[in-house]
Symmetry: C3
Subunit: 343 residues, 3 copies
Amino acid sequence: MTFVRNAWYVAAWSAEVPEDRPFSRTLLGEPVMLFRDAQGRALALADRCPHRFAPLHKGDVRDGTVGCPYHGLRFDGTGRCTLNPHGDGRIPEAARVRSYPLCERHGAIWIWMGEPARVDAANAALPDFSFIDPAQNEVSTGYLRTRAHYQLSADNLLDLSHFQYLHPDTLGSAAIARDPGRFAQAGDTVRAHRCAQAEELPSFVAQAFGVPAGMRVDRHLEVRWDPPGLMAIDVGVAPAGMPHGRVSRSAHLLTPETRTSTHYFFAFGVPKTLGAAARMLVDYALAGLMTPFRDEDLPMLEAQQAALGDADFWACRPVLLPIDGGAIRARRVMESKLAEEAQ
Amino acid sequence: MTFVRNAWYVAAWSAEVPEDRPFSRTLLGEPVMLFRDAQGRALALADRCPHRFAPLHKGDVRDGTVGCPYHGLRFDGTGRCTLNPHGDGRIPEAARVRSYPLCERHGAIWIWMGEPARVDAANAALPDFSFIDPAQNEVSTGYLRTRAHYQLSADNLLDLSHFQYLHPDTLGSAAIARDPGRFAQAGDTVRAHRCAQAEELPSFVAQAFGVPAGMRVDRHLEVRWDPPGLMAIDVGVAPAGMPHGRVSRSAHLLTPETRTSTHYFFAFGVPKTLGAAARMLVDYALAGLMTPFRDEDLPMLEAQQAALGDADFWACRPVLLPIDGGAIRARRVMESKLAEEAQ
Amino acid sequence: MTFVRNAWYVAAWSAEVPEDRPFSRTLLGEPVMLFRDAQGRALALADRCPHRFAPLHKGDVRDGTVGCPYHGLRFDGTGRCTLNPHGDGRIPEAARVRSYPLCERHGAIWIWMGEPARVDAANAALPDFSFIDPAQNEVSTGYLRTRAHYQLSADNLLDLSHFQYLHPDTLGSAAIARDPGRFAQAGDTVRAHRCAQAEELPSFVAQAFGVPAGMRVDRHLEVRWDPPGLMAIDVGVAPAGMPHGRVSRSAHLLTPETRTSTHYFFAFGVPKTLGAAARMLVDYALAGLMTPFRDEDLPMLEAQQAALGDADFWACRPVLLPIDGGAIRARRVMESKLAEEAQ
Ligand code: FES
Ligand code: FES
Ligand code: FES
């Protein structure tokens, strides 16, 4: 078993799938086509016509059906063939495409590629990402494709001690680096906490929080991880010694493209109740963090994958440090889920 | 067995192999070098020196021999080493290159990569392509390399119902699409017929046939396939209801480069007896069809191959439609030939 | 066993590894990082952090240690972890990187990737390359990466009969080509000798030796090969029939990058005692030979490798000619070393 299948994965940001034409993406190693019906409801089919294997996403969308670009068979959102334009128009029984349950929530389209019978239970258990729901929040979203196993990204985000080394110009601080971190697990949810007391913020962060230069603050980093790779990071900043301050929240959602590549969806949300500043804040966060994500994290993740090659992570016998407490817990959760599905 | 070997394949258009230097191409997975002797006769050798495996096509041609570019051994068209320029010049018995029977016919160089003893029988059975022979015809030739199994191209050409979907701007018509087609097999030859009655031609086709805008015509598409992938397409256009009209003929000759890539040779021929118009007609056909072939068929074929990956076509369990009647027959002929050669 | 490991290989020219930052190169299939300590001494580590497999060469060098670019562990030249910047700073026993013995000699950094216990014996046996030592010589150095097995380069250099065919414009001469060559082996050292009597030199060579146009000379080519691929070529030119003339010396040092790619280090050295001319001569040699090496030898080697694919050299049953006497002896030496290490 390569992937945990009984889980909701993000397939796309809602805005990536337009009303009038299909969108395609490889998810868990399978080419998938997304489109919308007349009501705007998102639908997902295997991106491969059962007739001669043409890519359906190159076809046209009409009335909730997609037409194959090669010989024009049409399929609806359940994968049923609704039109054979040739001869007497009979439709062979086998002319069906696999369809995948979808739900659209918090500005993202989520896909279920596992056993259909288990959708509902999972549904109820989806962790809270309402803080990036565009109904109540100003949101900025980003996407990066990483040629590395998705668990390497989870490792990265569950251990923010790397700020000081990998992102010295934007996020790093000696104080954050010093804290070995605290880790906790409740059910399948893993949490990592790291804080810096009375530190002077790096200037990018200071500006994001509106902290005047030279002011000392306490900074808290709270990372929440849920399987299969759904993460929330809260950054709290308060004047040194004060209990309350401002919190910035971001979502980091990992979907395997293949065994060695990952779709990384990230988003910043600020409640609309904050008024005009909300839009500015999320735009500032995205603009400022895209650079370290793309130019520092991404090459590191890809270099790790290159070093691993086809080998299993544990087979390479990584040295464990206290800072790995969160990453290791998350890996254990995924391994037990994989083992369970393999039964 | 990957390829049917006891068959004539097109190795090159005659004009691709000049008088004075070698030409190379991978055919049926093997690198082959073509060159001409002093009489202009085309010759073919394995493109690999038996001494240190240098590519012979980088050498020089002289008096019907080719010199290896590395240490200068020379080989004639039978593959015999004729010169060792070093020391006492003795020529080891093993210094031989495989040579392949060739014939030059109808403006193409045909190669035989199977058992030499079976050449002559096959020779007699070569289907008629005299309509592209430059002696009697104005001819325009084209070439495309497709990263897809050659049988996918045969499927494509044996089922022209795709005109309406893949080539809506040039060849498509609802009438052609509606006809389920008729298929016949005689010996190893497969024929597919499709027609549209009283249709208004797409403007590219109308112009090719000199049909005035708005005039209703009957259009007949006759496809002839012979193993291993030698195809002729006749398009007949006549005023609606009339028995006779103009016929345009083209050749479509498929040679596997590797298991998943194909040399696609195509040509249009018009009898020189038609006078000055003949040249114009074949140039118009080539200019007009290069675009759909290269920008519509080729990407579709490559997308099909990408979807198949390394899997066998039948293992992917394609849905069969009535329009596949010709393609399926051709695949069966090839499969029985492969099975026969495997014995 | 893919590589002979108990041997000194050139890892880099000394000048490639600066004082202040790491340098990386894949050697014998393993990523290696080279750097210098405060005294300028060259050090080599496996280029892979034992924590999360980050490439160490992307880190910073300080006081003879390199810092991992991901979470800041530091390692010294023995591979020992000297700093864990997180939490209580404890350093796990397993936090070690493999280090490789190095020596710096004759302007090159040599690496030992075999059993440490066998370094000293090998050390004593290193063949003489003092003629490219920058202390006593003007030296020009070159580097090319070749996508071909390193033994194909040794074949190339041990058989200079290819001058006439592959390098007709610079080095070739009919007289050199005619000589079948003489070969000798003493211990593991293989020698090849080839000469041309009373020939008119090709103009590039004539100029390199200061020979006036039209003058007849004797040219001697002496090639010395030692395992694993350490070669010296002496070219001697004397007026026809005279015993003494000028000798030009070059080193050709082959290090496998992978099974099918090679680092080719070459250098020309002329004693400083020659005065100002020495610099001019080595610059002239490098400038003149880079072109045939890069544009003629390299594509030939890569074409040979492409023809071999994954197959073993002998499995492809090369035809043996008398000119191969040196190349075959060198291959036999390497095969017996591989067999010995496999025990
Ligand atoms: S490939 Fe889809 S209809 Fe033929
Ligand atoms: S490789 Fe052809 S003669 Fe040596
Ligand atoms: S990967 Fe090197 S310190 Fe973490």
